[in-house]
Amino acid sequence: MSGPEAVSGVTWARWVWGLAPAHEGQSVADFFDAFPWDGASDDEALTSVDFFAAFGDEDEAPAPSTLRGYGADGTRGGHLP
């Protein structure tokens, strides 16, 4: 499951656009914890390419993740270190 190859017959389709290189491979937690939800950020590094300008780009392999629990208290439901 990665990018255009995953969508048979729709070769231009991609699942995700606009991630700056600095955010490629970044975990969901880190990405959204740093997300400028108040809209006040001028950090253009957060964004890289325009949605439609990105058609046809190659995907990058995801970065390895660490093992950690999940759940509302952060300890249940998943792997422990």
């Binding site: 990665s2 969508v7 699942w15 995700v16 969901v28 995801p62 999940y70 249940r76 439901g77 998943g78």
Partner: protein, 355 residues
């Protein structure tokens, strides 16, 4: 209480308190990403949440009322499990809660788990099941030791019109025009309630989908969604929705620096089945996206559909912002007239990309 005049506000769940598990509703237990099983004093299953059903690949409807140690999980009919549970129940001075490690044996694989026992009233006990590791089936087990498969618990259900997916979840195949009839029904009984109903339904359904996606990530990759790269998680969500036939979901983070991002849906099953409309119609997806990204961000977000295929747009597009900016988003929607770039422009106070 749901009312079309006072729509419920989504909330992030509070930290889970094991000692409060008996007070949780079935719906609340179903929103937990770990297994919860309640046994009565005889060892029969009285409650069984969605995550446990998904991870054990058993249908709750078939499990409830069965004897846990003999019928549902024979591998637990050993001193290290049943003996431990019985001893815990017989010895109140051991306290309200006790934890021990165990290995569940299923025919499709073994699962290393931590079991948290929680004492409840009337001799009942809760098993909170925290999966630690997924392993291949263990060799050399005696016959009947591993947990039965769903088709062994209910061998004749096909004759009763029961259909299941590859993970033994019950599925119903219906034509997408089910939504057209649902929409028409709401138009007759509560014309202004459709969007609130759909959005709330989407929120509830989205929370269950989150459990599905968390369990998938745990089984396949051994991590939770928040540990995975954001691109991977967005892709997994897109695959999940596409597999179910809802359309092609794609995320555009190009407006991240403006505190917003956009989700596009190509060929929305909702928009195409409901028919032409003057306004956006995919509120179900708005609610579902809200639940999904609330969970990922661990923040309350607002999601609004800017333009919809039901209006004649090429695709349905949703803008996601933090909930404190919901009023800004609604104002931008009013001014932008269905243009996603204009919405983002107005959200940014008229600065940056825009006309």
């Amino acid at each position: 209480m749901f009312s079309i005049n006072t729509p419920p506000e989504p909330e992030l769940p509070p930290p889970f308190d094991p000692l409060g598990v008996d007070q949780k509703s079935d719906a609340e237990l179903d929103a937990l990403p770990f297994g919860v099983i309640c046994l009565d004093a005889s060892g029969r299953v009285r409650r069984y949440n969605l995550a446990e059903a998904r991870l054990a690949r058993l249908d709750r409807a078939e499990v409830l009322g069965r004897h846990f140690f003999f019928e549902v999980a024979p591998c637990t009919n050993v001193p290290a499990f049943e003996g431990r549970v019985r001893g815990f129940l017989a010895t109140p001075e051991r306290g309200p809660l006790e934890t021990f490690p165990f290995v569940f044996d299923f025919q499709f694989g073994a699962q290393e788990v931590d079991i948290e026992l929680v004492r409840a009233g009337e001799g009942r006990v809760y098993l909170l099941v925290n999966r630690r590791r997924f392993l291949p089936p263990r060799a050399g087990l005696p016959p009947g030791f591993a947990a039965p498969l769903q088709r062994e618990l209910a061998p004749d259900e096909d004759a009763f019109g029961v259909r299941r997916d590859e993970l033994e979840g019950r599925v119903v195949e219906v034509r997408a025009n089910l939504f057209a009839s649902l929409r028409a029904t709401w138009s007759r009984i509560a014309p202004r309630g459709w969007h609130l109903f759909s959005r709330e339904w989407g929120l509830q359904w989205g929370r269950l989908a989150v459990v599905d996606l968390e369990v998938e990530a745990l089984e396949e990759l051994g991590v939770s969604l928040r540990e995975l790269p954001v691109r991977t998680v967005a892709e997994r969500f897109g695959v999940y929705m596409r597999r179910q036939g809802w359309g092609l979901f794609r995320v555009d983070f190009g407006a991240s620096s403006r505190g917003a991002f956009v989700v596009h849906v190509e060929r929305s099953a909702l928009a195409e089945s409901i028919g032409r409309s003057d306004g956006p119609r995919c509120y179900l997806f708005a609610g579902m996206l809200c639940a999904f990204f609330n969970h990922l961000a661990q923040k309350l977000l607002a999601v609004e559909e800017v333009c919809c295929r039901a209006q004649g747009a090429e695709r349905c597009s949703f803008v996601v912002v933090g909930r404190p900016r919901r009023a800004d988003l609604n104002e931008a929607l009013q001014r932008a007239g269905g243009d996603v770039e204009l919405v983002l422009h107005f959200l940014h106070g008229g600065r940056g990309v825009g006309p």
